[in-house]
Symmetry: C2
């Protein structure tokens, strides 16, 4: 049976388009229509209600847990066995497209619709889940819902998080009607699958249909505060300057050199994404710079080495430039490896469908990394156009790209759902 089942790509794509109209806005500069469904806003609430309606129309029993995660359950033939969960999120950054997260949720819904159409039963129950505030843009903590459901984050701590206006997660959940009754931390799936856009250029560039996600690379964020001395750019001889902006520039270039050196593996990534100078005036040598450092590496050991070497470099630059450099860690997550058997299953399903594929690392965090602590987990990536641009209204994957990923998701879910143990 599973061999001939195919999802309905047009239906999937139509659902993505319809959900994308909730929170839609027109980018002023490009006139491209984007999506803003920031977590727990009215738009997020409206999006959630639409998806809940679709889940129910697909015959699923919908429950909402105390952190607002939504689960739609399709019973199995042996319904006492742990279910296979597929999911992702439907909240967005303020300047999003329609694919990030939504493909995983509506893809899972499409899997259920396809099984319904075929009147196909599975041994284990299937769950379509979507999780609160994956993006973390509003309350400062990403993967909020899945981290709470998997007990990395305590419910009371999650509730107390505030946005810039002092509004709490709990209050905002209540306001949009998604402060559920279901306890968190009890659901323990048999396996977790998530289909997602790559959000990078690699698959598209290599003309691959499917990325079999090996895991999420380690992430290290720090903020550097560089204290030099502001001085008149006309009257201060070069030898007297303690230019905090110059030190930041040196470190930016040093990061690039580190990625090129090969010392930290071929997959080390680094960026100085934000720089703020003070007083930031044309004719004043910057006395202060605050800048961010984002390091990524698939190896925790190589990440540790890179962090240590960069810290040493900071001390060297501080001494050479006569500035003080203080570093504050702002995020740190270890490498999350996904389950090898599920990766093999995904690769096998892609082969069966005649789709090209390759293993790939996720550069971004995903709900899957949280669920991977509870059950065997892997992800299916699909390519994106325009170098895989994401968190941007230009984010775009074709109907075929989306359908390919969800067909792999269907095939993998059916195999997992038949497993006896």
């Amino acid at each position: 049976m599973a061999k001939t089942l195919r999802i309905n790509g047009k239906r999937l794509y139509a659902s993505l388009a319809e959900l994308g109209r909730i929170g839609a806005y027109t980018d002023e500069r490009t006139k491209i229509i984007g999506v803003n469904r920031l977590a727990l806003t009215a738009a997020d609430g409206a999006g959630r209600r639409l998806v809940v309606k679709w889940l129910r129309q697909a015959g699923l029993r919908v429950t909402v847990d105390r952190i607002g995660n939504v689960y739609g359950r399709r019973p199995g033939r042996e319904d006492g066995l742990a279910p296979v969960m597929m999911g992702s999120h439907i909240d967005s950054v303020p300047t999003a497209g329609r694919f990030d997260g939504c493909l995983g949720v509506l893809g899972a819904l499409e899997v259920v619709r396809t099984l319904n159409d075929a009147k196909a039963a599975t041994r284990r129950a299937l769950i379509v889940g979507f999780f609160t505030d994956e993006e973390g843009c509003r309350f400062g903590t990403d993967m909020l819902g899945s981290a709470t459901a998997t007990r990395r984050l305590a419910l009371e701590r999650a509730y107390a998080l505030k946005d810039r206006n002092g509004l709490t997660v709990k209050g905002e959940l209540k306001k949009i009607g998604f402060l559920g009754a279901e306890p968190v931390g009890l659901l323990r799936p048999h396996a977790y699958l998530e289909c997602h856009i790559e959000q990078g250029p690699t698959l598209r560039h290599k003309r691959l249909d499917i990325g079999v996600v090996m895991g999420v690379q380690a992430i290290s964020w720090q903020e550097l505060a560089i204290a030099g001395k502001s001085a008149h750019a006309g009257t201060t001889p070069m030898s007297f300057r303690r230019d905090a902006g110059l030190s930041a520039a040196r470190l930016n270039l040093a990061l690039r050199e580190m990625t090129r050196s090969g010392r930290y593996g071929r997959e080390m990534r680094a960026a100085m994404g934000a720089v703020r100078l003070a007083p930031n005036m044309v004719n004043v040598v910057p006395g202060r710079a605050v800048c961010t450092v984002d390091l990524r590496n698939p190896s925790d050991a190589l990440m540790k080495q890179a962090e240590a070497d960069f810290a040493r470099l900071c001390r060297k630059v501080a001494k050479a430039d006569g500035v003080a450099i203080k570093s504050r860690r702002t995020a740190k997550t270890p490498h999350v490896p996904f389950d090898r058997s599920v990766q093999a299953l995904i690769a096998g399903q892609a082969d069966r469908l005649g789709l090209s594929h390759a293993p790939i690392l996720s550069g971004a965090g995903h709900d899957a990394q949280e669920w991977s602590r509870l059950c065997k987990t892997a992800m299916v990536f699909v390519p994106g156009e325009y170098d895989g641009i994401s968190h941007n209204p230009r984010e775009f994957s074709t109907l075929k790209q989306c359908a390919d990923g969800v067909n792999v998701l269907l095939g993998a879910a059916l195999v997992l759902a038949e497993e006896k143990r």
Copy 2:
């Protein structure tokens, strides 16, 4: 007579302190008292009225010209000869000390008070002048009053300049009661002298009492707009990045290398004072950078060479980094050399007073550079403490440092005022 005359340092310093109380404020962080007498504000008006009162008390005939410059005239024995003018400005940046500009104005007043006390006459008339909006912080054009008086800037254009709130120079002059009747552009002094704090560390560091200012270095400002491509810092492989912030960093370091190379003389100065990245987020490769470049050189030819080489460098970096770099000139003033005979006179007066001195270039613009187009001109610099910090409440020169400078001013003015032609 002139050989024995000395100014009253205590009186000078008391006047600086009293003027410094107008527009005074306490810096929130350091608790140091600063001065805010932004041009043509109520505080500037109050400062002007105090100085006008003092000029009149010293027996000077006060006139105000149409751009608000104030002149206090002390008649000479041969009053038909062109006068010797001493002056500077009393407007300030919003975060100033009490010395910048004020030392030149109250120093000139102290010269007159000293001559009055000694009942000393001069062949040529003496003028104490202070000029409107030297700082340029409010209406965007520095040396506004002296540039208008010396006809570099047309009166009607000066009048029409607006601040951020749309208020015009003319309206604001009228509001504070300093829209004078005297025509601009008629005054042509025999010589112009200005005593000023160095606003840099050189004199203090070399333990020199007096700087004999050779001129004002050439200034070149440009704003660079660097367009790369914003991208996810986690998912975008290094080889795909077009990091506008990295290109700005490269150019910042290149500027520092240029100053070290010796190719543009020993006195080339360069700073990237302001950098703004977009979107300026920890996990996004910057797609856009706007940064400023401030170049200084005492040689117009070397400045031209530095500008051309830097432009070439920008093209090279643009090509290497896959970004587009557009440059917009925001300011350009040529080197202004001061009169050699007046410099020699100032050096001689310092020698006569037993003060150590050396030639020095001004890194900042001053009213003297405007008057130098009309008459022989030079400036006397005095050292400042704390590496000569200026445009800052910590700006500080001692009583002796100030008095030394004004004694040199007195001696030089007396010689110039006795010249027959």
